[in-house]
Symmetry: C2
Subunit: 281 residues, 2 copies
């Protein structure tokens, strides 16, 4: 598994890098970013925080706007930010070019529907291929992984953590899509990637996963009260109700005045990193 270094920049005493590799899962070149905190220079293996991004994003959005490096440098956390879909020649997109399906909108599933099944394998990419690559190229302690994400990436973080509690010691999310089967973004994506049989969607719906018996030790979610997507697409209350019903400790912080942007995420990402670090140490 070879890795091409696109850029490295010293920042907060560590190294912010961007990298590209040919993915066996997506069949395309894939780009991602890794922040190595200054502690990496000492040779120790360090815990890893995965950050899954939202619709329309690449690795670059959180890398530029997330404001995570100061805290990662303090706490000794490796921060990995993958892309949100395969890209490039031959990768099918939304037929109308919409922002919420296809390119930039992989929804962290392995598609089964043509023409998407060939390249849209983000679930296997995030849960298997990229961790192997990280483990082999960076000083990462893969026994100490945490996962978080924003919006579509919050959906990815919650569903992946619920299905792999042995891999991810902690999980949090920013303004996540929590019940894709019940909202327009999710219905479009899951039907497009997985087909019309809603039974297959349950494995990629955090609320359904909890209803079907998946568990997490605890979950942290921040949600802006002025988020324009809250009422229609996010509906955080559906997941909160499912967690409450089965006794999953969910810390849901409704943040007055905050919207869906990186101005919201960057405000609270430090809190999440400290929360994860406490559970990774």
């Amino acid at each position: 598994m070879s890795l091409e270094t696109l850029s490295t920049n010293k920042s907060f005493g560590g190294t912010q890098g961007a990298y590209r590799h040919d993915s066996r899962e997506t069949g395309t070149p894939m780009t991602f970013s890794v922040y190595l905190p200054p502690q990496a220079a000492a040779g120790a293996k360090l815990p890893v925080v995965w950050y899954l991004s939202g619709l329309t994003c690449t690795h670059a959005n959180v890398t530029e706007k997330g404001e995570y490096r100061r805290t990662c440098a303090e706490l000794g956390l490796i921060f990995v930010a993958p892309d949100t879909s395969p890209r490039g020649e031959g990768v099918p997109d939304d037929p109308a070019g919409a922002y919420d399906f296809g390119l930039g909108a992989g929804f962290y599933v392995d598609a089964t529907e043509p023409p998407f099944a060939t390249h849209y394998r983000m679930y296997s990419y995030i849960t298997r291929e990229l961790p192997e690559l990280i483990a082999s190229h960076f000083p990462a302690d893969m026994s100490r992984q945490a996962i978080t994400g924003h919006s579509m990436g919050g959906h990815g973080a919650l569903t992946i953590a619920l299905k792999h509690p042995e891999t991810y010691r902690s999980v949090s999310a920013f303004a996540p899509i929590v019940a894709p089967s019940q909202v327009p973004w999710g219905e479009k994506a899951l039907s497009g990637y997985l087909g019309a049989d809603r039974a297959t969607w349950r494995a990629h719906d955090a609320t359904s996963l909890v209803e079907d018996g998946k568990r997490a030790d605890e979950i942290l979610i921040d949600q802006g009260e002025s988020d324009g997507f809250l009422a229609e697409q996010l509906q955080t209350h559906l997941f909160a109700a499912a967690c409450e019903k089965v006794g999953i400790p969910l810390t849901l912080r409704m943040q007055p005045g905050y919207d869906h942007s990186y101005y919201f995420i960057s405000t609270f990402l430090e809190d999440h990193l400290r929360w994860h670090a406490a559970r990774l140490s």
Copy 2:
């Protein structure tokens, strides 16, 4: 002086805004950003930190990548980020479209040469028009202003502060152009905007200004040692020598491994904000 609000986002308890107005100086619409910390809600007038950006930038670069809001929220600082040139229909650009002259490269001077003299009035815009606008629309204590900037904006901050010590209580810079009369970027810009008579350049050259008797109480500069522009365009040592000769206390921190990017700026901007806050209180 009317002001159009382009966007506001809650962040770190305060408000990050972007605004546009019709500038009398440039004869164009001008865009800038202002961060109001949470203390603004209490009605007090707050000190102002001006951040002047570098070549190719707009207000957006530091607004998205500067990572200043957390510290401004803690310290109660208003942070203002102007654009770097006039823009729009009828504004002349570099004849070859180069990045280092014309659009995005106003160099914080009032041009005297045609065809630039009409619109390129960034010096008067930054030192007179925009402060009036800020004073009339935001809870700004204009008796407590500090100024900083990056690269071309570091040049702007140093030259403006040296000429207006009564206005700016403190000045710092990131990787500034310190002697434009002696480096390619500056020679191109100053000849293009001010003409061939190098005597007129001295009022816009920080090193010349010190040689000609301008003073500052103290100055803070951070400069990356791995900055690819250091040897040819920045030549920080020229300014350090001029300051040393006349006894201006310059804290010049050469930062090993750091380059010219926002990964460098964001690492040290907190230090600068604390340094300014101490001098503004």
